[in-house]
Amino acid sequence: MNDRSRPTSKIRPVFNESGIEIKPLYTLDDVIASGGIDRSGPGEAPFTRGIHSLMYRHRPFTMRQYTGFANAADTNERFKYLIANGQTGLNVAFDLATQCGYDSDAPEAAGEVGRVGMAIDTLRDFEIAFDGIDLDAITVSLTINGAAASLIAMFLAMAEKRGYDLSRLRGTAQNDILKEFIGRGTWIYPVEPSVKLVADTIEYCAKVAPKYSPVSVCGYHIRESGASPAEEMGYAFAIAKAYTDRALARGLDIDEFAGRLSFNFNIFGNLFEQVAKFRAGRRRWSKIILDEYGAKRPESGWMRMIAGGGGFGLTIEQPENNIMRGAYYALAAALGGAQTMALCCYDEAYTIPTPKAQRLSLRTMQMLIEEIGLTDTVDPLGGSYYVETLTNQTEQKIIEAMEWVDAQGGIVKAVSDGVIQAKVSDYAYQRQRALETGELRKVGVNCYEDTDDEKPQVDLHGYDEIGARKQIENVRKIRAERSNAAVERALKALRADAEAGRNVMPALVEAVKAYATVGEMNGALVDVYGRFREPTQLWRRAG
């Protein structure tokens, strides 16, 4: 222990959200006491300092704003606007009907068509959405989970139809169903068949589209639901290990697919805690894949990630403050070595963003690249007594979070039993109480609030009822024009494969090519797997 840095009794103790006590000063002694410095360079396992040797000096982070609304044609126009403004990747938002596996004219879709993302019913919509966009130059990330298998099939079919070589095609699907049961909620099937479908996509892509990333494991939404940064990472690794185990059980070699697993993490909160989280996470994940699973290719142990958000950090009060929050969050992502970045826009506490708000987020990230010097040198905080100590301590917290999951019987069981949901939701409540008591300070919310009655002036994206009606007409038209006999045959084959426990991806690709709808394909799988229902819970006052 170092006397110079030991907190005196006069100052109040500070803990970060991951539960690590923060000292007023760090020295070399703290680094040594916490485990020392990882002397390996960036691009060398365990990749604490970055997965590539030159990081942003070679290629800056990809900018991938989450975008999609109304229908494929409107979204295609917005994609082109963002690309024209310097965006370097696409991150597709789907409406809730698509995400939950319903067609635009299903009763469940009423009022939802094109509201929080683009409505997709058939391959025709994907053809329109990506028309004129070079899939070699701009990689596409699909934010889809419950319905992921059918939409990955659709994306691959669209790319193939346009003449792209699937063995070289890059891109990502979120396709992390376990986190949907913890937060975000766009599940369709019960837990077991849902995880089986993830393994289907990993197995299929390893064979057919080996450069495509079929899964992006999301600590992000678990963090939004209440988890601490260290838990966010620990739970994400537990989930990634579950998918890895399922893929290995299919007979795949770890090096065939581990390098295509990617991650999605959140960036709101304490900046140094986020940076330490990313550094510690890279080290931990590489040890898991290279040491525990025995992968031979170093790339298999890369924790590739999109760092984004952080929606939970944004506020409805004084919305312009969110512009500055976005800038600080982006800084954390860049200092943490994210491969890809996406920022929530300042108006997203209200609704989906306007083009102006999206451009502001894009400019925020571009300033880091062009003006602030964030791309000049790799891991600029490496060697900081504070950040190195915190990195070591955070890795321990990540290990503890993973051990907690193991003690619950593993992540699939923890999710099925609801224990992980209960844990993160309890933390979210404690956080809300801390906000209400003022213990946790939030600018514009519980300190420096508006004193006058001035209402925030935000131009909001409006819901497009006409676009929704057009989408419904389109899907009905396609059902009338396609060969329904071919669709029936394809759906029958899909049901048969699902019933026999075979990989359903080949049958999904055939169904997609026959212009089967999202609702028909997912409906066929519901026939076999059933539909998940969240249990109703009742609490009574004791006594």
């Binding site: 509201r115 766009t186 609704t351 979210a428 819901y463």
Partner: protein, 131 residues
């Protein structure tokens, strides 16, 4: 109402999966001493109203963050009127723009709690307004 235990149904209608807020409110209501029923995600208006009748809820609170609050609240309102739940306290919370708040109050949702509302305010609103 001193002997009567207030029972609150918290429900998530539609396809919206944002349940952090609803669960935080559930925690706060339990802490405040109410009996609480949480429906879980993705409930149809019919299932919500049936649950309200079956559970004998005094308060029916909907949480909607996807922007679909107007059509969903209209549908739930019609069903609640049909099932004789007009004398219960109806609440709605979520991403609700200023201009929709009055519309929701006129529909009969007496408590409208947009994002950023305090759980303490929701608790006192219930205590003051349950007959």
């Amino acid at each position: 109402m001193s002997d009567h235990q207030i029972k609150v149904l918290v429900a998530k209608p539609g396809l919206d999966g944002h349940d952090v807020g609803a669960k935080v409110v559930v925690h706060a209501l339990i802490d405040a001493g109410f009996d609480v029923v949480y429906t879980g995600l993705r409930q149809t208006p019919e299932a919500i109203v049936d649950a309200a009748v079956k559970q004998g809820a005094d308060v029916i609170g909907l949480s909607i963050l996807s922007g679909t609050h107007l059509p969903l609240c209209r549908r739930v309102r019609d069903l609640m009127m049909e099932k004789g739940l007009h004398d219960k306290l109806w609440l709605v919370g979520g991403n609700i723009p200023e201009e929709d708040r009055m519309v929701l109050r006129q529909l009969g949702f007496r408590g409208v709690f947009p994002t950023g509302s305090l759980t303490g305010d929701i608790v006192s609103f219930i205590q003051e307004n349950v007959k």
